[in-house]
Symmetry: C2
Subunit: 208 residues, 2 copies
């Protein structure tokens, strides 16, 4: 079991309707040590992959994206979202339906912040249906850029986002993949992933 | 002139209506080196101040808050906002009017993430009328915690937020304070602040 799976078992809980609540360390309160480890682990999994920009979507992806931008020493861009359609003259714009908030959002990035020369690592805290990630991919492609990879903290393996993205050929890495949850017993089963030796993480590099 | 004032002059521009646009490095695209320096500089200015939590508000404060939480090695909490009133059973809730978006937002933090023992450094990218910061102060006080200080990247010195917070006795540090802007000539005047020797920043500490 990796550090994030352990943390989820330790501090997460399952709400009725099989909703995984981990906002005590990931997306409301942020456990800075966990976010650091997520950034390290994603960088390690994308070893050898060229990245000159990190892209996420507001709001909860920003912490991980910032730590990862810090590690890569590259700019971070966070796509903005709103409900109302806007002039797209100066923006790349896409759409994402949020199942959580039951609404369609416009997702956009100002044109100067995405380029045809960009090799973009897309990151987010959660991956479920993949609507947000697909919108981000769309924005990168509109700019003529390349998606180097997609790095996720927690993938909901029962939903289709991860499956579709892998079938589309994207290099997707999710640190924890929740295969199933049981609200009554408060148990979580994670998808088995290749084990990673701790030594791989290069924890000797001081982080701050 | 400090690093942030220089960066504003170099990469910012003034839009009609005296709106300062610096989203190329602060709050849409993030120049990771600038955010790092902002975190260092705020930590330096709050030297000797006890901080066990960093609090900000989504979305654009999260990057600075994450870097600062990383430096202090303390948890980061970002308050959430929405327009619709909600049950407050499990939340501390306050209100902030956004002049930018011309709407009143509820600002809230889940109760478990603020405590009476907290010594909170509140941070944000911009300070104008101080509505968001006052809402965050309110949340800390509702929890019985203490506001250790308020750290801001860019303060709009012509608006009242900074003045009021200082009069209220808060330790407020804004790295750049815009005293006036002239759209026609694209000039910005900054409020003079005490000069800081670069040596103070302890740049020898490796950051990543």
């Amino acid at each position: 079991m990796n550090f994030l799976e352990e943390k989820i078992l330790q501090d997460g809980f399952i709400k009725p309707g099989n909703i995984l609540k981990i906002d005590s360390f990931l997306n409301h309160q942020i456990d800075i040590d966990i976010i650091r480890q997520i950034a390290y682990e994603l960088k390690r999994r994308f070893r050898g992959v060229e990245v000159n920009k990190v892209l996420t979507i507001e709001a909860s992806g920003i912490a991980i994206a910032t730590m990862l931008g810090n590690l890569y020493d590259v700019p971070v861009v966070f796509a903005k979202k709103n409900e109302t359609a806007n002039s797209t003259d100066d923006k790349y714009m896409s759409k994402a339906y949020s199942f959580t908030h039951k609404k369609q959002n416009n997702v956009f990035v100002s044109r100067p912040y995405l380029h045809a020369t960009d090799k973009v690592l897309i990151v987010d805290d959660f991956l479920a249906d993949g609507q947000a990630v697909h919108a981000l991919i769309d924005l990168v492609h509109q700019a003529g850029g390349k998606v180097s990879g997609i790095g996720i903290a927690v993938e909901k393996g029962q939903q289709q986002g991860g499956k579709i993205l892998r079938e589309e050929g994207y290099h997707l890495e999710s640190i924890a993949i929740v295969e199933s949850m049981d609200w009554e017993n408060q148990t979580i089963r994670f998808r088995e992933q290749p084990a990673f030796a701790l030594g791989d993480c290069n924890l000797k590099t001081p982080f701050y």
